[in-house]
Amino acid sequence: MNIHKRIAGDLVAAGIGFVTTVPCKQLAGVIEEVDRHPEILHVPSNKEDEGMGLCAGAWMGGRRSAIIMQNTALGVTINTLATLIQFYRMPLPMLISYRGEPGEPVACQVEMAVHTKALLAQLHIPAYHFHRQEDVEELPKILDYTFMCSKPVAILTDASFWGGY
């Protein structure tokens, strides 16, 4: 099974049936799998804060939801994370491409990479960094943990992780 199928399968196994995405090159494969999966309603969003609104609504409607986005989106979603997801205590797995790490060809991506973990720490958002291929084995546990504690949780996936596949 390839990594993209595996991740989509883990989402479904965790009971997630609603996923919104804003694309990133590193996430293209997993977004394609999510779109294709019969048990996931995939609603692409135009901006990540909009996507978090969709996820909040779907979750309140009884469907577990998740967002797939790039780390630059943290710059867009701080207010939404604090005043919607955290304030109303909602679970939100965030599968994030961690651009700007070694292997990155675009200098500008580094500018948000240096803030990524600091912003997550400042917001007290649990964050897990997938760097090696086998790190994906933790995904099912992280998803269960997210719905157990009803918090936004970040899964950062860097170029080395995706390059391993």
Partner: protein
């Protein structure tokens, strides 16, 4: 008519349905007029009422009415293509378009000048878009509930706010109460 008078008039229609209400004074007004477990009040996060309502409408069958404002739609314009391309027949977006940012001191928005939200919704691909006068809101909303088709209502009204107390309910209590109402048959 101003927004609070419209809410007063449509409250008997709203009370039987799931309502996602916009941040600030709109939520304060609805809360004071007719607080119901089926109301989800936004206490922060300007602009996302329409998105929360769409997510809710897409995953369950009950009608969802979003009470939004022109300022909030303008801050999240990406919502219109998402609504158009993911049609939920049980979704009604009611934009109270008073041409101003009501919660911050009635500063004018661009919809009071050249910009038409009905035109933007149509251009985004929304198929059932109704622009109405404040006095017609109740009838237009009732028709939308019967239409069984995603509807965007742009209700043109006067700028102004009623003086209502700030909502002091705990956000988790609002959300929990709302989720129980969603899950009830």
């Amino acid at each position: 008519m101003i927004r609070s008078e419209i809410l007063q008039e449509i409250a008997p229609i709203l009370r039987d349905h799931l309502v996602i209400c916009n941040i600030g004074i709109p939520s304060q007004e609805l809360h004071a007029i007719d607080d119901r477990p089926t109301n989800f009040y936004m206490l922060g996060t300007m602009g996302l009422a329409s998105s929360i309502g769409l997510g809710l409408a897409l995953v369950q069958p009950k009608p969802v009415i979003v009470i939004d404002g022109d300022g909030s739609i303008l801050t999240n314009l990406g919502t219109l293509p998402t609504i158009a391309n993911n049609p939920a027949p049980n979704y009604i977006l009611l934009v109270v378009d008073n041409g101003s940012y009501g919660s911050t001191g009635d500063q004018p928005t661009y919809t009071g000048r050249k910009t038409s939200l009905a035109g933007m919704a149509r251009a985004a691909g929304c198929e059932r878009v109704v622009e109405c006068r404040a006095e017609e809101t109740g009838d237009v909303l009732q028709e939308a509930l019967e239409a069984d088709e995603a509807t965007v209502i742009i209700c043109k009204c006067e700028s102004g706010n009623a003086k209502m107390p700030v909502i002091t309910m705990d956000p988790v209590a609002i959300r929990d109460r709302f989720m129980r109402a969603v899950a009830t048959d």
